[in-house]
């Protein structure tokens, strides 16, 4: 098992074949779709979908997301869908760049860090994975309750387990997929899923991430 600080590092290891499979974000999957295969996608509340949240400090009088103009904003990771791409695409749809809309923005390289940054007041608002925010609300309510949701995005493909396309025929990948998909039927597997607050893993078509691909395109077109 290998952990890295940034999405970019994990994606590089995966694409280069140094690791066989990784739990990555939908955004790098879309970016390296040609080199990657989907192994399985987590299912949350019965669907392999999640949302991106724009959050701010609890109790702040905010009507809609446009009131976040001029904030210091915390992003998660430049290769994160929910923690960067969704907000960037939202701004692109409104003909704006993050540096124009926010007074300052920075990356915390972790969804939990985004919540910490907003809760502490280091940033006035942040872009965070909705799944992480909801799970942390159960685990660390004292931290998460110091933030509130300003905007929820549309439902998007849940960060999948992906493998390098070059290993498509590798039996270990198939075994991994089977293990993941059958996890909900296994006692030990259910313990893991309960810890992750997930229902199980599903085999999903690549089209699940088309909405993310569309956001990438929106951003690309706006520049």
């Amino acid at each position: 098992m290998v952990s890295r600080r940034t999405y970019q590092e994990i994606t590089a290891l995966l694409v280069s074949g140094q690791i066989h499979a990784a739990w990555i974000c939908g955004y790098p999957y879309v970016q390296y779709k040609a080199d990657l295969d989907l192994v399985a996608t987590p299912s949350w509340h019965g669907k392999p979908l999640y949302q991106s949240y724009l959050i701010t400090t609890q109790g702040r009088d905010v009507g809609d997301w446009t009131r976040l103009h001029g904030d210091i904003h915390a992003f998660s990771d430049p290769d994160s869908n929910s923690g960067f791409l969704v907000t960037r695409a939202l701004l692109a749809e409104n003909r704006m760049l993050p540096d124009q809309f926010f007074s300052r923005n920075f990356f915390t390289y972790g969804h939990r860090n985004v919540i910490r940054a907003v809760a502490s007041g280091l940033a006035q608002s942040g872009s965070v994975d909705g799944y992480v925010w909801e799970v942390m609300k159960e685990i660390e309510p004292s931290l998460v309750n110091r933030t509130m949701i300003v905007r929820k995005s549309e439902w998007l493909g849940f960060p999948p387990i992906a493998s390098a396309k070059s290993l498509a025929s590798d039996s270990r990948i198939a075994a991994l997929r089977d293990a993941l998909v059958s996890m909900s039927g296994d006692r030990e597997g259910r313990k893991v899923l309960e810890m992750l607050r997930l229902d199980g893993f599903l085999v999903t078509p690549p089209a699940l991430f088309d909405t993310i691909a569309a956001k990438v395109e929106t951003v690309r077109q706006f520049g």
Binding site: I72, A74, S103, R104, F106, F107, T108, Y109, N113, R116, A117, S120, G121, L122, A123
Partner: protein, 485 residues
């Protein structure tokens, strides 16, 4: 009363404990000052070390993040360090970039990221590593972040130092309470010790006071401490003094009695002689009367002789009665009083074959307003002294003159002169040791009489040798008393 005298008037059994307590307070103050000063230095050194460690650790962990301008990494490091360095109790840490704008603060709600650091932060540091603000109970320290010789930012740290002050206060209270208890114990101990030491002195004082009032009692054996040699020695010394004084007093009484008896004996023998002298003549006259009583001329001559002889005896007896009967001492002085004195001294003069030079200038008034009995006693004593001092065949002089306000009497002898201690009985304020030794009791009686009469005594030397005693006795006429009243 000035404070020094007031202080001296406090009993020593209170003064010594008070001095002990004051000394303890002074010592306590000095020790407390030294201890607190030392503690303060140790605490500052400790705080400097902790702050240095904190800033070293923090600067090495945030240096790359500051170099990148990574707000989150700096904040994350500050956030983690707040729990790691609990001993230092950091209240607030602010990291600024090279442009002095805030990169991150431990409390972003108070100091906003990217804001300009308030000027007070830069102005609050003193010369040392850690600057302590005693009023706000906080300490300040800062550390420049240098990368390859370039200033890339600064760490500004604020610590809670209230525990240091609380520790100092606790130490101070402990010192005060401990030393206070010790001071009270020492003072109480001093009080008991001094009382114990002063106790025997009190016993001695009480005995001496009693002695001053005339009852000199030795200290009883059960009051003499057995263990304390010095006090026991003092008490034994006092007892020896009391015994010696008693013996001396007894001796003096005995001497006085003897003197009195001797004086009376001399007077009595004088008087007997004075009575005996005419007795021979009287018996002769009686024999003459027996044989020739029928002869008228002889009988009358014999009866006159008997009358004169009996009158002489009567004069002597009356003079003695007038002198030694107390109820007669209050009458005013008359010329007869002086003549009686001359009469009473005559046998003694005759015995020693001495002459009396008598010179009395009496005023026209018969009586002088002064108690005659007392004057007679004093003059008789002085004349007896004069005859005793004058050799056989010598001369004793007596002169009396009176003015309106003063009776002056001079008595002279031809003796070798009065010894100073005996003269002191007449002249000095304190009759001195001579009286206590039982000497000069006659003169002491003279002194008391003259004092009683409000007079004064002078002693001089006569040009022809011998001593001259002058008595100056004030006269108080009734009109003077009325005027004075």
């Amino acid at each position: 009363m000035n404070p020094f005298r007031r202080w001296q008037s406090i009993p020593v059994s209170f003064r010594v404990p008070a001095i002990v307590a004051i000394l303890m307070v002074v010592i306590t103050a000095a020790i407390s000052e030294r201890v607190l000063d030392r503690l303060s230095r140790i605490q500052e050194s400790y705080l400097n070390g902790l702050a240095g460690t904190y800033l070293d650790g923090l600067s090495s962990s945030i240096l790359p993040a500051v170099l990148r301008g990574d707000v989150w990494e700096v904040f994350d490091a500050l956030d983690r360090s707040s729990t790691v360095y609990e001993a230092l109790a950091p209240i607030e840490t602010v990291v600024t970039g090279s442009d002095d704008r805030v990169l991150a603060a431990s409390d972003p709600g108070k100091i906003e990221t990217y804001s300009v650091l308030p000027a007070e932060y830069s102005a609050r540091y003193g010369p040392g590593n850690v600057t302590i603000d005693g009023q706000r109970l906080t300490g300040f320290a800062h550390r420049e972040l240098i990368y390859q010789g370039q200033h890339i930012g600064t760490i500004h740290a604020t610590f809670d130092v209230s525990h240091l002050f609380a520790e100092r206060r606790e130490v101070l209270i402990t010192l005060l309470v401990t030393n206070g208890i010790v001071a009270v114990l020492f003072a109480f101990g001093g009080f008991l010790l001094v009382r114990r030491m002063v106790g025997p002195i009190r016993v001695l004082e009480n005995h001496m006071r009693s002695a001053a009032q005339g009852v000199a009692e030795p200290i009883s054996a059960n009051e003499i401490p057995r263990g304390d040699g010095e006090v026991a020695s003092l008490f034994h010394g006092y007892n020896a003094l009391v015994h010696a004084e008693r013996e001396r007093a007894n001796f003096a009484m005995q001497l006085a009695e003897e003197e009195k008896l001797a004086s009376l004996g001399r007077l009595a023998s004088g008087m007997a002689h004075e009575i005996n002298n005419p007795l021979g003549g009287l018996f002769n006259a009686i024999d003459t009367l027996k044989e020739h009583g029928q002869t008228p001329g002889v009988r009358e001559t014999s009866i006159r002789l008997i009358e004169r002889g009996l009158a002489g005896i009567r004069d002597v007896v009356e003079a003695a009665l007038a002198t030694y009967r107390p109820e007669r001492s209050q009458h005013p002085l008359t010329a007869e009083d002086l003549e009686d004195v001359g009469l009473l001294i005559r046998p003694e003069l005759r015995r020693k074959m001495q002459r009396l030079e008598w010179d009395v200038v009496w005023r026209s008034s018969k009586e002088l307003p002064i108690r005659g009995g007392l004057v007679r006693q004093a003059l008789l004593n002085l004349l007896l002294n004069a005859t005793a001092a004058t050799p056989e065949g010598g001369q004793v002089s007596f002169s009396a003159t009176s003015t309106e306000r003063m009776l002056t009497i001079d008595i002279g002898d031809e003796g070798p002169g009065m010894p100073p201690d005996i003269a002191g009985i007449l002249l000095d304020r304190d009759p001195g040791p001579a009286v206590r030794a039982g000497r000069g009791l006659g003169l002491w009686m003279v002194r008391r009489v003259i004092d009683d009469l409000g007079g004064t005594i002078k002693i001089g030397e006569k040009s022809t040798g011998g001593t001259a005693i002058t008595l100056l006795l004030p006269l108080e006429w009734e009109d003077q008393k009325a005027n004075a009243a």
